[in-house]
């Protein structure tokens, strides 16, 4: 019983990171990222560091995804030596926006922030 409680407690602390991704997000984004071993969390933090608000990050992401270009990317040029520049996504605009929304929600730091005891 004690072990079970400890396991539940441990799982609950990891819950935000391990929340299953939305199928749309998984299909359009995370599936490929995982294959290519892209550091999603790092990339998101870089967007966050520069653009601050979800609206501005969303705008920057859409710009990049529609027209992938080193100039539009948040990552440094050295990043593309290891991870080649991707092709433009062939998604409808609505679906692309929704995927980006899911992406932002999935990585949103607010969900992981807690107050110190």
């Amino acid at each position: 019983m004690k072990r079970f409680i400890l396991l539940i407690a441990a799982l609950s602390t990891l819950l935000p990171a391990q929340t299953p991704a939305d199928p749309l997000l998984e299909a359009n984004c995370l599936g490929c990222h995982r294959e290519q071993k892209l550091p999603d969390n790092l990339i998101y933090r870089r967007y966050l560091l520069r653009y601050s608000s979800p609206e501005r990050i969303e705008k920057a992401l859409l710009t990049y995804l529609r027209h992938p270009d080193k100039a539009h990317s948040i990552m440094p040029s050295e990043f593309f030596l290891r991870f080649p520049l991707k092709y433009p996504l062939k998604l409808e605009d609505a679906e692309l926006r929704e995927s980006v929304q899911k992406y932002l929600e999935y990585f949103d730091v607010r969900r992981r922030l807690r107050l110190e005891k």
């Binding site: 602390t13 990891l14 819950l15 935000p16 990171a17 391990q18 969390n41 933090r45 966050l48 560091l49 520069r50 653009y51 601050s52 608000s53 979800p54 609206e55 501005r56 730091v109 607010r110 992981r112 922030l113 807690r114 107050l115 110190e116 005891k117």
Partner: protein, 391 residues
């Protein structure tokens, strides 16, 4: 204390205490605001330190891969982060704050820009209740200071006021005493004259009236002397002196005869040893005032049946009496105007003041030796330049 003295004291106290209070209030006000600014700055510095700490923690959290990010919770300080569009991200306020909340004077509140935006934060709002305890202590101390200062300066002002009105009080008392003495001093000879005139009128024609006339003469001479003294004092002697080679021996002899009637009336035996033709450069009226006042005092304060011995040499005039004497502590202040060693006899207390002015003007030496109940010796030593003995 008279009504006018009370009024003067109250006016002085009102002006003194009001000006002191205004000065104190001004100093306290400046001190209060300077200290208040210091206290604010001190608490602002504490808040600055907290801000630095929170920013460091945000940077660490931003770099963390941990599934849970623990937002710093500093004791006594509330903080929150906002994105670039001023939307709330996270914080430890009890109620979700806004960057546009109105300032509260009881709370220290700072909005700090965050760049780069750790955890997406573009603004950090930090708030800390203002610690009012030092301000309360400051207000209490200033109030105490004002209270103690007020009590201290009130007491000091009262004593200072008493001190300041003391000369005025003494002057008023002297004037009152002078008026009383003058009234009494004038009343005696005038009454004597009137009484003797009535007696002469009542006597039948051909009767001997020499005794009555003698009394009238004494009273008239007394009035004349009072008049001379008062004129001298009221003029305050800025008059023109005619310094002449005066035969002091003759003058002293003449004044002895002048006072003989008065001294006989009091039963005082006057003896003299006068070297003839002692010449002195002096104004005749001054010399007369000097001798008259000394002789008058010697007679006035003598006892019935007492003696006076007048001795004039080339260098000094000495008058010795067997009067009531003067207490030693009063000798030093006898020359002051309206000062009297003894009030048992009539007088204004101006005689020795006149003597003092004369001896000072001519640079004579003046000395009084006295023993209470035994008598008094008064010596006037003449300066060498003023003396010339023809012998």
């Amino acid at each position: 204390m008279s009504e006018s003295e009370k009024r003067s004291l109250i006016r002085f106290l009102v002006i003194y205490l009001t000006s002191t209070f205004v000065l104190f209030a001004l100093v306290s006000w400046i001190f209060y605001h300077a200290t208040e600014r210091n206290i604010h700055q001190q608490q602002e510095r504490v808040l600055e330190s907290e801000i630095t700490h929170i920013l460091t923690r945000l940077r660490t959290l931003h770099a963390s891969d941990a599934p849970t990010l623990l937002y710093p919770k500093n004791t006594g300080v509330s903080s929150a982060i906002f994105d670039v569009d001023r939307h709330y991200i996270f914080g430890n306020f009890s109620q979700q704050p806004s960057l546009d909340d109105a300032a509260d004077s009881e709370v220290l509140r700072r909005i700090v820009p965050v760049d780069p935006h750790y955890l997406g934060a573009a603004y950090l709002l930090v708030s800390r209740p203002f610690d009012d305890a030092p301000m309360c202590a400051l207000r209490r101390n200033i109030l105490l200071f004002m209270l103690l200062g007020g009590v201290f300066f009130s007491v000091l002002g009262y004593f200072l006021g008493r001190l300041f009105i003391a000369p005025m009080r003494e002057s008023v008392e002297q004037k009152n005493r002078f008026i009383e003495d003058a009234t009494h001093e004038l009343n005696t000879p005038i009454s004597t004259i009137l009484a003797n005139i009535e007696m002469i009128e009542a006597l039948e024609k051909g009767q001997d009236v020499r005794e009555e006339l003698g009394r009238i003469e004494i009273a008239s001479r007394t009035l004349s002397r009072i008049y001379d003294d008062l004129t001298f004092l009221s003029l305050d002697h800025p008059y023109h002196r005619q310094i002449v080679e005066l035969d002091l021996s003759a003058l002293v002899q003449e004044r002895l005869e002048y006072f003989s009637v008065v001294s006989r009336a009091k039963g005082v035996n006057v003896t003299s040893h006068i070297i003839p033709h002692v010449l002195l450069s002096i104004d005749t009226d001054d010399a007369m005032r000097l001798v008259d006042n000394l002789l008058s005092n010697a007679i006035k304060y003598n006892r019935n049946g007492g003696t006076i011995h007048v001795e004039l040499t080339a260098h000094q005039l000495q008058i010795t009496d067997t009067g009531i004497g003067i207490p030693p502590e009063k000798i030093a202040t006898l020359h002051e105007r309206f000062r009297r060693a003894n009030t048992s006899e009539g007088g204004f207390g101006i005689g020795l003041n006149i003597v003092h002015q004369v001896v000072q003007f001519y640079g004579f030496d003046f000395e009084i030796d006295s023993e209470v109940g035994e008598g008094t010796v008064v010596r006037v030593g003449f300066s060498e330049l003023g003396i010339r003995n023809s012998e």
